[in-house]
Amino acid sequence: MEDIAQELLNGSRLALSRAITAIENEYDNATAIMKKLYPHTGHAYVLGITGPPGAGKSTLTDKLAKEYRKQGKTVGIVAIDPTSPFSGGAILGDRIRMNSLTLDEGVFIRSMGTRGSLGGLSHKTADAVKAMDAFGMDVIFVETVGVGQSEVDIVKAADTTMVVLIPGMGDDIQAIKAGILEIGDIFAINKADHDGADKLVTELNMMLDLDGVMKEWRPPIMKAVANQNIGVTELVETFKKHHDHIVSSGQLTQRRTERTKNEMLDLLSSNIGSYITRNIVDTGKIDKMVEDIKAHKTDPYTVVNEILQNMLK
């Protein structure tokens, strides 16, 4: 494939797939691809789906995607599963719940391993979303790994974040802890046909009531039974309401400005990191520096300062 970015923009699904691979594996052409795609991004509505393992994120995503398809929208899905910290391998199993979407031409699903990232996404999730955005997907779902309490990177990547919970996972103290319960724009109580769903709704409401200030948007708590397609249309309507709210309140612009800033800073630190690896670590300069520091000929603060001075020249 000669020009992956151009072919992607021309509508080649294989090119989209190859672009994501290049991004994920940090191939030499990845930056060139992203540069060419960037002007075509910013149109998609990015929906984050997060929650504990087994809550039904994939099943719900499958059903939500079908609902958007009924409305004629095209859908991209980036589904993330954990990479083993021991072997580096992963079982990416989110597609199992989405098999009936595979042959829909208006849908593109890509599974990614976290590859060492700890915030519930992978380092390259944002760029994979951009590739799908440039391809022309109207709605892009980002499904995080099954999260515990503190993996909240999804808020930085999504326009609207939905936290999927299920009954029976703990008492009301769990509901006032910091972490993922602070990031929901919408709460979905899945498996709501199980015991304890109403209790969970009450506990979440109590948690939201403890917010000192009245917010313009109080996260709605929606009940669903994803595998029976119950509550799905209502969720899509709620997404629409949240989308309208963040557009009219200026929050969408604010969130995207913040995201652009974060992404730029991430890119900057990662490039600085690789500069250091290339010029200081790989060249062996670091060994001499460490020796001098150990011999007290100099100190780490001076050495780091010198490195930075040199880099900025």
């Binding site: 294989l14 691979t21 940090e26 072997s87 391998g89 990416l92 597609r95 098999n99 699903i109």
Partner: protein, 130 residues
Amino acid sequence: MDKRIRVLVAKPGLDGHDRGAKVVARALRDAGFEVVYTGLRQTPEQIAEAAMQEDVNVVAMSILSGAHPHLFPKVVDLVRGKGMKDCLIIGGGVIPESDIPALKAAGIAEVFTPGTPTGKIVEFIKANVK
């Protein structure tokens, strides 16, 4: 550069015996591969499309129903038809020795029958992946 071998593990056809596929998926995970597991009863069209969307290096199929002479070659054709020229396609399951030459002629790179140590599959993939 962080190249990682990606493998689609798929069960084409109608038999519901996925223990073998799961054992292989787990072994490939432990070998450091990213394994996209798609579950039971996949059509060749679904397998090929998923392989393309996931840009996998390898498609590994398991069949225990006897439908391999029909389904394996069909997957090869469809995967190649998507432009995935370099994708390694392998198969496994209850497959009679006498069927293997025809499957290989149809583009199945290797066939692993019951009793194969999983390490052998890992070695084969590492040696043949492009």
